[in-house]
Amino acid sequence: MIPAAFDYKRASSAAEAISLVAQYGDEAKFLAGGHSLIPLMKLRLAQPAMLIDIGRIKDLSYIKDGGDFVAIGALTRHMDVEKSALVLKEIPLLAHAASHVGDAQVRHRGTIGGSLAHADSASDLPATTLALGATYVAQGPNGERLIAAADFYKGFLESALQPDEMLTEIRVPKMNGAKWGFEKFNRRAQDWAIVGVAAWRSKDASGVALVNMGSTPILATSVSEALKSGASVADAAEQAAAEAEPQDDLNASSEYRVHLAKVLVRRALEKASA
């Protein structure tokens, strides 16, 4: 399978990428690692007329200590997130989730910013960064703006990014030793989750988000509220799908997804409470 023909430009900085996208408008798509976009283009589900290759912008690949948070450049590859000593120490849930994206070959190329901007509710990192209360930095013609992960996901493969904006950095709050659990239920090793759960819990707070339980990643706030009001893990997990409207597909019915979400949230919270 070969993608439909397109024109190709290479950007060497974020500023150049933004000026190129302003020039080509809706016709253009950014290409980072390409591991979400190229498969769609091969299936002709996406046919951009112009690809702006941002994959060589080296100064957007970094992992830095920002004090209360860890700042990750949008073009940092999954493999680098997974193996980063800083991420392993301060946000172990994110390192673990990154290690479950695709397979080794995919993680050598795919980037955290590309995965988030693609805004696929079946991907692991949108839900994981949502559970962790991350903030995304977008750069556009009028400068930078911050978007909370909770405000970022608007619909199926749709984010709050404007067509002339580019995701440049992901700021993930440090977990400060909070315990966590990550559950990915799938039938084959490298598949997307049929349902996935990213969860963490500290003494007085928690965050739980669901993978593939609707058109966007879902923050399971009812679970956190139940835990806060003193409910047991098993009782809180019964609220897992309160915010979700999961779809039917080849792999699972909506009802089965609701069942899976409750079981997987319980398992993830048991690990986060051990």
């Binding site: 399978m1 070969i2 993608p3 439909a4 023909a5 397109f6 024109d7 190709y8 290479r10 290409l31 390409g34 591991h35 190229i38 498969p39 283009m41 091969k42 299936l43 690809l51 290759d53 994959g55 695709g102 397979d103 080794a104 070959q105 995919v106 050598h108 190329r109 090793a189 490298q190």
Partner: protein, 152 residues
């Protein structure tokens, strides 16, 4: 668009359409047909090659993305007619049946040992999750990788 890629030690300068996939450049323009196309949807790993020393799926990479890089394919492994230790280990441990997944398996396995020189059996199985063998001959493939690690 002109691309310049070092493939198996030789600098190759080719004119490609931006939509040309790396695997098609390798197979159709350079006649390096050892790299197979299997699922063509970045699942099966038959198309695995090394780009700048790391295992990647060449069906999910544009040739223009590899421009300026160094690519190694299965044809680039043997030296002076002597097989690479991983190829030798696959032969000795019968790590193949029909052979279709083998080039990708060998490239992914070398990549795995580059990153983790002494893996456990479980780490080998997990590390090769991106490569499918439809003969389901995984057991001897894992044995081959462990033998190659030991022989190092």
């Amino acid at each position: 668009m002109k691309v310049s890629i070092v493939v198996n030690g030789t600098k190759q300068e080719k004119d490609v359409e931006p939509r040309t996939l790396l695997v098609h450049l390798l197979r159709d323009q350079l006649q390096l047909t050892g790299t197979n196309i299997g699922c063509d949807t970045s699942s099966c790993g038959a198309c695995t090659v090394h780009l700048d020393g790391e295992a990647v799926k060449s069906c999910t990479l544009l040739a223009v993305q590899a421009d300026g890089g160094t690519v190694t394919t299965i044809e680039g492994l043997s030296k002076d007619g002597v097989m690479h230790p991983m190829q030798q280990a696959f032969m000795e441990n019968h790590g193949l049946q029909c052979g279709y997944c083998t080039p990708g398996m060998v490239m992914a396995s070398i990549g795995l040992l580059n990153e983790n020189p002494n893996p456990t059996e479980e780490e080998v199985r997990l590390g090769l999750e991106g490569n499918l063998c439809r003969c389901t001959g995984y057991h001897n493939i894992v044995k081959s990788v462990l033998a190659a690690a030991k022989a190092k």
